[in-house]
Each structure stands twice: as C-alpha cells, then as structure tokens.
C-alpha cells in the first residue's frame, strides 16, 4: 500500500500513515536501528557534546560569512576548470541543468542521491524533455520504481519492507526475485552497471563544498556516487548554497559528526573529494564539470536571528530517527521534500508566503529530541514555536484556536477569574463525572478521550486547601539545619542572572 501524497492536511496525511501497519513497523524498525547505532558510535567516540559544539561553531562561522566563503569557493572551483552557476530559484536551477543536458544531447543521466534535486523536482523536468534520469542509490532506485518520493533524508525507502521491495524489483526484472537482501541488491547492481556505462551525464548532490580548494565532497555507502562521478563524460553537481565549509581541517569534524549521527558508522564507506574535471594525468573522471549553487529560499534565513541556524544543518537525518512523531507517521505525512523535525521547520521556512504553510509546524509535541540528536545543535523545537507565532502574527492562525486563547488569557490573566472558572468547572463536571473520571467522547473531549480518560477536578483545589495546610506546617515546622541554610544562602549569592542548568 502506498501512502505517498502531499494532498490534504497534515492530519489527513498522518491518518493514512497511522493506519498503515507495514509502514509503521518498517519505520520503527529502521529508526530504532539507526538511533541505537548513533548512541553507541557517539558514546564510543567520547566527548560527544564537545564535538557537537565544535561542529556548531564551524557552521555558525561559515554561515555568518557565507558570501566570503562562497566567493573563495567559486574562484577556486573555476580555477580548477569547473563551470560554476548560481541559481536564485528552483526554476533557475532547473533551467541551468536542462540547458547543459540539451547542449550535450544527453539521453540518459545517472544520479547519485541528492535531496536538492528532489527539492527542484528535477527528474520530472528531465523526463518532460525526454531525458531518462536514473537514480543509482539503492533506496532511491526503489522509490523511483514505486513512483514515490523519499520519506527520509538518508534512507529514502525507509517506509517499505523487503517484501514490498521484492515485488517492485520483480516487476522491474520481469521475473520473481526472492525477498532476500543479497538477491535484490545483486539484481540492482547488475542492472545499474549497464546504466553507468551508457549514461551521458552523471548528476550528484554535495555533502560539503570546501572553500579553500574549490572541492566538493560526497559521503556514500554503495559506491554508486563514485561511479556517477567517474564514468560519464559530463558531471553536474547541485548544491544548496549553505553546503560550504572553509577547509579540509573542518571536514575532519564533519566527517566525525555526520556518519555517526546518520547511521552510527564511524566512517562512511566511500568518501570522495572531487577537485575539478579530469586532468590529463588522471585515469578517469568527467571531461566537463558543472556545479549549480542553489538558493531557492535559503537566503530568507540569512540575517534572521530566529532561523539562521537552520542553514547549519548537515542533512544527517538524526532528528528524524530521534523523533517520536516521525516514528509513528513516517516522512510522507510531512508533505514536503524534507521530512521529520528538520522538514517541519525547513519546508515552511523556504517559502516566502507565510499564509501558504499548512499546519506542519503543529505536528510536534516540542519534546526536544531533535535538538538533543542534532550534531550541530540546531534548536528545532524553538523554531517550531517561532513558526507557529509567525503564522498567528500574520493573521493565518486557526480562528477557533484564536478565540480559545483569548479565553485562556482572560481566565488566566487574573487569579480571581481562575478561581471562579475552577468553581464553575466543579459544578459543570457533575454531569459527566463517574467515579472521579470523565469518559465521554463528546465535544472538545473527543480527541483526548478516544485514547484516555480525563480526571475530574477534586472537591478542593490546592488554593482551597492552602489555609489549612499552611497552619499545620507552621505549627509543626522543623528547625532548619544550619548546613542547609548556608547552602541556600550560597545558592542565592552565586546566582548568575540568566539561570542555571538550562540547555
């Protein structure tokens, strides 16, 4: 069963996933494996929070000086013989890529995994002008056969189990393939070999672009990106404008953080650094190389103190694997190219028009697991709240909720009103309380009571009882231990404004 589709509301899309047991089981299985792997790899490495902070500082510095490093990168890449293009919008980026493909009279393009090309819907545009684009990452290949989009940043087919995958690949092969990982991967490997050899263009994304040498670096596990960047005569790389890091020394930190956070690997299987097209003494490589640097909404975050850190993201997917919401609804429910907590923030942030966002930012309990998992410490849980606030401020809040919040602040804005409402509540609940519990599924309690019972308000609230409690305490109070008193005095004395123990 397919649960792809970006139509409808977040709730409607989430309901599809919640009713798809295959999907939920597959997502649970893989995210658990990945987050356990990450936990072990980060603990084994040691000083993980120091590494995270180092990674964060590198990203903060680079993004703060992005214009500077983009210039250096571009100059160096051009000196290496790379054609560097800048694209403001998705349409610009697509046009540059299509122009190159047409000029080369390309019939077939082999692609290694790239979320930016997903963001641009590039395969679709290539197909329209008759160019076959073939995904060569195993997961992406499966998704392409299924006519779906990736549901995870690094594990595109995470929502499918091996039986579903065997069905798809059997149809592709024209014969029944056993649901065995070796058999299935073997089939795809053989098939893709032919495609690598016949392709006119190799197309890649970019994990990191190194400013000091104008190089681009790819992390992968299957060797397909290395084939894509060595066999075809032309290479096109698409990169988000924020993929830059200053130096190879900085890459060491990123190479420590990224694979461990993504899959729990100490090292990715293939890490390729590519500095320009093939030189005369090289054994292989493309004769012509293009890098398309894509903005597509990214510069909206530059200079915005609440969202600039979003550009620090290194696309590891750790926040998806840690997220308890993603665990239950998978990636397609998020409705955009990017899913999970990062997607819930990035998708609306890349849009100019605040009114067009659906309620994706509401699909979070704000538990902060994403922030804790993030190797560069992006405060996604705070950003989700800022997005909600911006939507309300722009007049696109939910009308009923907005009336509800007015009521909330009217009641809670003064203790007398709060007390009056509590007393009214005690009277009103008599209609529905049985044995101290409310089980009715009527009205506003429907959603809550479909899964729970609601406790009732007791005869006496705390403020009702306070007078009695206070008197009893005063009469029986212990003498304070001098050691306790001096600890309290020290706490007051040493207190710095700005608090204690807040992450």
């Amino acid at each position: 069963m397919s649960t792809t589709g970006t139509a409808g509301t977040v709730k409607e899309r989430a309901d599809l996933a919640l009713n798809d047991d295959f999907l939920r089981k597959a997502v649970r299985f893989t995210t658990e494996r990945l987050r356990n792997g990450k936990k072990k790899a980060s603990e084994d490495h040691g000083n993980w929070d120091d590494w995270r902070e180092r990674g964060r500082q590198i990203r903060l510095h680079t993004i703060a000086h992005l214009d500077y490093y983009l210039n250096i990168f571009t100059e160096n890449a051009r000196a290496n013989g790379v054609h560097v293009h800048f694209a403001d919008t998705a349409a610009d980026a697509v046009k540059v890529a299509l122009d190159i493909a047409e000029r080369k009279q390309a019939k077939t393009i082999v692609k290694s995994k790239s979320m930016v090309t997903e963001e641009l819907h590039l395969n679709h545009h290539l197909e329209k002008i008759g160019i076959e684009a073939i995904e060569t990452d195993l997961g992406e290949y499966i998704i392409q056969l299924a006519g779906e989009t990736p549901s995870h940043i690094i594990i595109p087919a995470i929502h499918k189990n091996r039986y579903q995958i065997a069905d798809l690949l059997s149809a592709d092969a024209g014969e029944t393939l056993a649901p065995d990982t070796t058999v299935l991967a073997g089939f795809v490997r053989k098939k893709l070999r032919e495609k690598f050899l016949e392709a006119d263009i190799g197309m890649t994304g970019c994990n990191f672009a190194i400013a000091e040498t104008g190089s681009m670096v790819l992390f992968e596990n299957e060797g397909n990106a290395r084939m894509v960047t060595t066999v075809p005569k032309t290479q096109i790389t698409l990169m988000g404008m924020e993929r830059i890091i200053p130096s190879w020394t900085d890459l060491e930190v990123m190479a420590t953080l990224l694979p461990r956070s993504a899959t729990g690997q100490k090292l990715t299987v293939y890490m390729s650094g590519i500095t320009g097209p093939r030189r005369s003494e090289d054994g292989d490589g493309p004769e012509e190389m293009h890098i398309i640097i894509v903005d597509n909404g990214r510069s909206l975050q530059l200079g915005d103190p609440e969202f600039q850190e979003l550009l620090n993201c290194i696309r590891c997917g750790a926040c998806l694997n840690a997220c308890p919401v993603y665990r239950h609804i998978g990636g397609h429910a998020y409705g955009g190219t990017y899913s999970g907590p990062i997607g819930a923030v990035l998708t609306p942030s890349l849009q100019k028009n605040v009114g067009e966002w659906d309620d994706i930012a509401n699909a979070s309990s704000l538990c902060g697991a994403c922030y804790e998992a993030c190797p560069v410490k992006i405060p996604l849980h705070d950003m989700l709240v800022y997005l909600r606030r911006r939507k309300v401020e722009a007049g696109h809040g939910n009308k009923i909720e907005s009336i509800g919040m007015k009521g909330f602040s009217a009641v809670m804005g003064g203790s007398k009103r709060f007390r009056t409402i509590l007393n009214l509540g005690k009277l009103g609940q008599k209609l529905v309380v049985r044995n101290g519990e409310i089980r009715t599924k009527l009205g506003p309690l429907k959603g809550w009571n479909t899964y729970r019972v609601t406790p009732s308000i007791p005869k006496k609230t705390f403020r009702d009882s306070w007078g009695t409690i206070e008197e009893e305490i005063r009469n029986g109070l212990q003498e304070m231990d001098p050691a306790v008193r001096s600890r309290m005095e020290a706490a007051v004395k040493n207190r710095d404004k700005g608090g204690h123990g807040h992450g």
Partner: protein
C-alpha cells in the same frame, strides 16, 4: 529567605495532593513554602501555540507572584522550563525582560531544589514497590534534570527501580498537540503505556503532572492498575 511554591495550574486544579506532598516534605527540612495566590498559569499553552500576547498576559501573573521570592519551586520541569522562555517572550520590553531574567535565575524544578540546593538525596523514605520512571522531555532535555530523581529513588528503602523501555521517548502530551493532533498523540501515549506495562512496574513515577495525566489517562482507559505518582508524592508517602 522566602521560598515560594509555584504550584502550576494543573496541580492546583487537578492534583492538589502533589503540591501538598511537596510542602510537607520540604517542611521536614525547615523550609516553609509560601504560596502567593495571584499566580495562575505559566502561559505555556498560548506560548507554544504562537499566541504570545495571550502568553504575556498570563505570564505576568507569575512575574507578579514571585517578585520578592528568593526561590521559586515547582512540581513541573515543563512549567519551570516555560519560565526559562520568559526572557525570549519579553525580549522587546526592557523592564519586563529584567524581571524575566531575575525570575528565571531563581526558578527550580522540585528535585533540582531538593538535591542541588538543599543537598538532600536520602529523605529517609521507604517504599517497597517495583517502580519505573518516565523522564519528562522538558525537565530532562531543557532543564537538564536527569540524575536528581534517580539519586533520590536510589536512596528509598525497598524501592526497586526497573527500566522503562524507550524511557526518553515523549509520551505524546505536548499541550495543545494532544488535541490538535489527537491521533498522533494517541499513538504515542499508547506506545508509552505498552512500554510501562512491559516494565512490569507496579508504580510509574515522574516529575510532571501533565505527562502523568496523559499516561495515566491511557492506563485507566485500558483498565490497567499501574499506579501513577509524582516523585514528591512517593517520597512523602515513604516518610509519613
């Protein structure tokens, strides 16, 4: 020194026994809690939903209530965590911003105060039961309250602390999230309760009544007899 109780609206209205347990337990150390009645709610429902004007109106009652307190103690990591958001909430109002920073610096979740300020890890309690612990997200991740409750439980005589599978996963409450995204929240709390039952504990303990109301609501819905308690209640019951 003035040590004030920030009861939180939920404990005030629905779980007064939690506030009472805190008050009586701290009195054993000579700490007499003061309870300013002008306090209502920290404003978190409005803040998290994006209605910051409404959140400020509510948060003002908390700033007023604890203006001259030296310590502000609450039975909720989430509501204390909300106070840590006050400087952001009032960032454009210099006077309120100063008050917000001041309040933030003197606010403590219950176990933070007991363990880190008073220096108490053994309250002398006895509680001969199998207990599992749910670390609430805001308390553990945003305030960093991780070791304090464990240290307190490790000193309770007879208490057998059993691991909760996937303990750090959110229970699915998330305030208005539980209403707006009822089915996702329902899936999360159902799985949390599956894990509580898997732990075979008699008692589930936590530091936040919102999360515990959510989990116990699902336990009761499924007619499961696991007892749900705030750690303050457990400790006080253990010394009574």
């Amino acid at each position: 020194m003035k040590v004030s109780l920030f009861i939180t609206c939920m404990s005030d209205a629905i779980y007064p026994r939690v506030g009472e347990a805190m008050v009586r337990l701290l009195a054993r150390y000579g700490v007499q809690l003061d309870f300013p009645k002008v306090q209502t709610c920290c404003g978190q429902p409005a803040f998290n939903s994006g209605y910051w004007d409404d959140a400020r109106a509510t948060a003002s009652t908390i700033l007023d209530a604890f203006e001259d307190s030296d310590f502000v103690i609450s039975p909720s990591g989430s509501c204390t965590g909300m106070i840590h958001h006050y400087p952001k909430l009032f960032e454009n109002d210099p006077v309120m911003l100063e008050r917000a920073k001041e309040l933030q610096s003197k606010s403590y979740e219950f176990t933070q105060f007991l363990v880190n300020v008073l220096g108490v890890t053994d309250v002398g309690a006895s509680f001969p039961h199998k207990v599992t612990y749910h670390p609430s997200c805001h308390g553990s991740r945003l305030l960093g309250v991780k070791d304090e409750p464990i240290a307190l439980m490790n000193h309770v005589k007879g208490l057998e602390l059993v691991p909760l599978p996937f303990a750090e996963d959110c229970c699915g409450f998330g305030g208005t999230f539980a209403v707006k995204m009822a089915d996702i929240s329902g899936a999360m709390v159902t799985e949390k309760v599956d894990h509580v039952l898997e732990s075979e504990a008699e008692v589930l303990v936590g530091l936040d009544m919102a999360c515990l109301m959510n989990i116990s609501g699902n336990l009761r819905y499924r007619n499961e007899p696991v007892r749900v308690m705030h750690l303050a209640e457990l400790l006080y019951e253990g010394v009574k």
